[in-house]
Each structure stands twice: as structure tokens, then as C-alpha cells.
């Protein structure tokens, strides 16, 4: 594991020199990573995903993310490039809720700003809010998506420690979303035409009934979460806490 961490650190070292690197148009293997058109084939990801069997056999009612972004630099920020490090919570419909931090997006190169977004109406509408204030400290990089009522009233909290602590920034209406999620993902999304540089670590947990206790992303049937990434992005188990779901991610273009 130490060798792997050392390798990752070495590969990410060039990120310190990011501004001295050309603002190359498009990046990634075969220049396949770019911002527009925005779709899964062109944005690049380094994530972990856990798919549950779904209600009524296996399901959850929340998730938490502790984001520890170590480096974030988006050279193309002024043209709209962005990187997010975040948590996605997907339902058995196409709708989803997401929250985390965003870098770039016309603001500046390197500051992390909390955001959330959601889709509704069978994924026909999307709403996004991006805070103008950066978190005061690392503790504020804590995010929670949770339905404490188990009746489809979901909320998003920033800066707490789970269990509805911190600031609730959003609350869903009733009937908008199912009572239970069936898919969790966390990690990095890069929508950028120029090579961004970001690496960090996440710690996550699934919130599951009836006690709403926190569990790692490991199914009761023994099915664990799995890393998922675009070609040549980097994602490993978080060496600081190697539970399922916790990852170390990077935009470093590792040779495979």
C-alpha cells in the first residue's frame, strides 16, 4: 500500500507545476476528456460506486461524505472548466441528488466551493446551487444526503457530522423522490477542456435502516463497492481508512 501511495504522490507531483503546463485543448488518453458536449463519455471520472439490490431486499436512506481534497487546480477555470469532488445518491428512477465541492466554473483556479444539485421529473429538470463562500476549514467539507423520516423527504446538509448536524441547505418536497436509494457513488468529475489537476481522499458511509447507523459500502450479501474510472484516471482505496467506499482519487494520467 505504501508503494502505491508513493506512486500516486509521484504521479501527482506535476500538479504543483500546473500553470507552467500548456493550456492544452482537451486531455486524457486520445484527448477524450473535455467539457462539451457534457456527457459521461466526455467528462472524466475517478469514483467508487456501490449498487444495492434495491427495495425491499437491500436499500438505504442516506449517505455521508468527508471530502479531503489535497490539490485542486483548474487552469481552464475562466472558460468554464470545473472539477467536482462529491457524493451522488441515485434512486431507482433516473433522478439523483448530489453534493460536494466544486473548483473552477468561472470563479478561480483553486478554491473549493460547496454545491448541491438535483434532478427531478424523470431526469427532465436539473437544479444547481453553488455557494459563494469557501468552507472555513476542512471540517466544513462534510456533506450529508439523508431522509430521516424514511418517507421520501430528503435533505442535504453541509459542515456537520451526519445525523442532520451542520447546516441544512436543501429539503425536498414530499413525493418527489422514493423513500430509499439504491446506488451511491463518490469521487471526482472533471468537465474540463484543459487538463485539470486534482487529487484527494474521501471517507464515506451509507446510512441504513432501521437504526440509520453508518456502514461501509459493503452489501449484506457480501457485494462490495467498486472503483470506476475513466481511462488513465487514478483511483485507489483510501490508505488512511481502507473501508469500502473510501477512495484516493486523482486526475493524474497513469499509464496502464
Amino acid at each position: 500500500m505504501q508503494k502505491r501511495v508513493l506512486l500516486l504522490a509521484t504521479l501527482c507531483l506535476p500538479s504543483l507545476f500546473a500553470p507552467s503546463v500548456a493550456h492544452a485543448k482537451f486531455w486524457g488518453p486520445g484527448n477524450t476528456c473535455f467539457r462539451e458536449p457534457a456527457d459521461e463519455q466526455h467528462h472524466c471520472y475517478a469514483t467508487e460506486e456501490w449498487i444495492l439490490a434495491g427495495y425491499p431486499t437491500e436499500y438505504g436512506d442516506g449517505a455521508v461524505l468527508f471530502d479531503d481534497t489535497k490539490t485542486a487546480e483548474v487552469p481552464g477555470w475562466s472558460s468554464g472548466d470545473f472539477v467536482t469532488n462529491e457524493l451522488w445518491l441515485l434512486f431507482n428512477t433516473e433522478n439523483y441528488l448530489e453534493t460536494g465541492v466544486m473548483v473552477g466554473h468561472g470563479r478561480n483556479c483553486c478554491t473549493l466551493y460547496p454545491f448541491y444539485a438535483y434532478t427531478r421529473n424523470n431526469h427532465q429538470e436539473m437544479y444547481e446551487s453553488l455557494s459563494p463562500a469557501a468552507p472555513k476549514n476542512a471540517y466544513d467539507n462534510h456533506f450529508e444526503i439523508y431522509d430521516p423520516s424514511h418517507t421520501g423527504y430528503w435533505g442535504i446538509w453541509w459542515g456537520g457530522n451526519g445525523n442532520e448536524t451542520g447546516s441544512q441547505v436543501w429539503a425536498s418536497g414530499g413525493g418527489e423522490y422514493p423513500d430509499w436509494f439504491k446506488d451511491l457513488q463518490n469521487g471526482m468529475e472533471a468537465g474540463a477542456n484543459s487538463q485539470p489537476y486534482s487529487w484527494g481522499r474521501t471517507e464515506v458511509a451509507s446510512v441504513e435502516p432501521p437504526s440509520d447507523g453508518w456502514t461501509e459500502w459493503l452489501s449484506g450479501y457480501g457485494v462490495p463497492s467498486k472503483v470506476s474510472k475513466s481511462p488513465h484516471q487514478c483511483v485507489y482505496r483510501n490508505p488512511e481508512s481502507n473501508h469500502y467506499g473510501n477512495i484516493e482519487f486523482s486526475t493524474c494520467l497513469i499509464e496502464e
Binding site: 504543483l16 485543448k25 457534457a38
Partner: protein, 305 residues
């Protein structure tokens, strides 16, 4: 004991070496940054940076027209540079966010942490066209819609909210607005004779032409006095090399550092570097690159030859 000391010495030496490398790296970074072509700050809305992030809540506010231009820049990034049926309202973030979301899906909650944000001055600009959302959860499709709503911080132009769908927000506070006029014709060439019309309605392309240094690994070298040719998106390389093509919308010449600046209307372009006198079939042409220009924004590009 001797062996341990040696190991510690090696580690110390390695640490010093790493620090030295980092120092050189930061020095190079600073040098490059200072060499980046400058843009007259008066031409653009204030750009955010880490030092000014709190300006989101205070200071003078931008005009309605500037907010429209910022919104058009977002529309361009969402796939439609020419939105129609635009309307706008001014208000606190709490007010504009409420109109944008119309309570659909849910609503924002105010807390001690977000109180200043909710009270800050914003614009909500609603546009019609064909748009694609920028956030895409893995395994899903990007949301597409005919209505794009953008909340802009009135102090610095930052985007604080966006929505995409097929139903426009409804509010008596929304009034019709139009995009500030942009003169027809080619883009403004850096230092050119055309007046700097509607600077906020164009974007800035700041670029640099370079070639590989020698030996391998050496810094890239600038290409001064080369022709920069901007063509319509999709233009073949052999066409863009012909400087008189009607598809060429702007040209510039690189300076002593290989740098150039062009003011372009929002849109997607192909940019190439051509050796001076390059209308001939034997002229060297750098591999063209695509670039998307957004109104009121600066886009950097480096073209390697």
C-alpha cells in the same frame, strides 16, 4: 547506530532535494504566470480569485446588461450561444433562487452559514434555446432542456445557481431583456483599428504559439511574428491555411513572446498558427485547436507547432 545515521542523512538529503525541486517549480510557475499575455481588466467583469471571494457579498454591483452577458456565456457553454426570449429580475439570492426553482423538487434552507449568501444581491436571467446541463452523474445522461435559468452574483458575476428544464420560471418580477448589441463582422483584432465595441459582449482569446525546445525536455520556445488564424468550427486545416477563405473570421500576429490576443464573439472556433507569408501551399501550419469563447470571459490556449 552508524547505519541508522546514514539512513537519516539520506532521508534528510532527499527531503532537501524535494524541497529544492519544489522551489524551482514554484519559481517557474511564477515566471510563466507573469509572462502570460495581459488583458485590460476594464474589458472584463471582475474575475474571482481566492483573495476576493468575500466580495460576493459586498461592493458595487454590475449592470443588468453585464449580468445578461454572463448568462449568455453560460448558455454558450451549455450549447446555445444565441438564446432567445430572455427575461431578468434583480433581487436577493433568496428571492431569485425561489423564482428559479419555483419550489420544484425542493427548496433551499437558510441557516447561519448561508444567511449572508441569501441576502446578497443577484440577478436571475432566464433564456430559451437548447441547453445541456454541465453536471453529469456517472451512468446517467446529461439533462437537456429548452429553458436555462442562471443566477449571477451582482458583485462579481459568479454563477450561484442554474437550472435546466422545459418550463420557464414565472414571476411578475421578471422583465424582458435583450443581449447588448454586438457589431456584425469579424472579431476585433488585438490593437486593431476597429473601435472596442461592446467589449462585454465578446470574449478574449489569449494564446501563445510555441515549438518544442531542445534538447528533449527543455522549455518550449515562442514563435514570434506568426500569423494566427481563427476559422469557423469544423474548418479543415488546408482551408484555414488559406488566409482569404470566407470561413476565416479573425487573424492576429504573435508578438515577441509568441503571444496573441483576440476579441471574439461567443462561439466555437478553430485556431491555427501559420508561418508568416503562409498563404502558400508550403507554409508551415500548426495543428489547429478548437476553442469555445464565452462572452465576457478570457480563454487561454497554447498552440504547439
Amino acid at each position: 547506530m552508524m547505519l541508522r545515521l546514514k539512513i537519516r542523512d539520506r532521508r534528510a538529503a532527499a527531503a532537501v532535494l524535494v524541497l529544492a525541486v519544489l522551489s524551482v517549480g514554484f519559481a517557474l510557475t511564477s515566471t510563466f504566470a507573469s509572462a502570460t499575455p495581459a488583458v485590460d481588466p476594464g474589458e472584463l467583469p471582475a474575475e474571482g480569485n481566492a483573495e476576493t471571494e468575500t466580495s460576493a457579498f459586498t461592493g458595487p454591483t454590475m449592470s443588468s446588461a453585464s449580468a445578461v452577458q454572463v448568462a449568455i456565456g453560460i448558455a454558450t457553454g451549455a450549447g446555445d450561444a444565441n438564446p432567445t426570449g430572455m427575461s431578468q429580475m434583480a433581487g436577493t439570492f433568496a428571492e431569485t433562487q425561489a423564482v428559479m426553482s419555483q419550489g420544484k423538487g425542493g427548496s433551499m434552507r437558510e441557516s447561519a452559514e448561508t444567511a449572508a449568501w441569501f441576502k446578497s444581491a443577484t440577478y436571475l436571467t432566464v433564456m430559451h434555446g437548447h441547453f445541456t446541463g454541465q453536471l453529469v452523474a456517472p451512468g446517467t445522461n446529461a439533462v437537456e432542456g429548452t429553458v436555462l435559468a442562471v443566477i449571477t452574483d451582482a458583485h462579481n458575476g459568479w454563477i450561484e445557481g442554474e437550472s435546466i428544464g422545459d418550463t420557464a420560471p414565472s414571476s411578475t418580477s421578471l422583465s424582458a431583456v435583450t443581449a447588448p448589441a454586438v457589431a456584425d463582422g469579424p472579431a476585433l483584432e488585438a490593437g486593431g483599428g476597429r473601435a472596442r465595441i461592446a467589449a462585454s459582449a465578446v470574449g478574449v482569446l489569449a494564446g501563445r504559439l510555441t515549438r518544442a525546445g531542445w534538447p528533449v525536455g527543455a522549455p518550449r520556445l515562442p514563435l514570434p511574428d506568426w500569423q494566427v488564424v481563427v476559422g469557423k468550427d469544423g474548418l479543415p486545416q488546408h482551408i484555414i491555411a488559406g488566409l482569404h477563405s470566407p470561413n476565416v473570421v479573425a487573424t492576429a500576429r504573435s508578438d515577441g513572446n509568441g503571444a496573441f490576443i483576440l476579441h471574439l464573439r461567443p462561439g466555437r472556433y478553430l485556431v491555427a498558427g501559420v508561418e508568416t507569408g503562409g498563404a502558400s501551399a508550403h507554409a508551415k501550419v500548426c495543428a489547429p485547436k478548437h476553442v469555445t469563447i464565452a462572452a465576457g470571459r478570457r480563454t487561454a490556449i497554447e498552440i504547439g507547432c
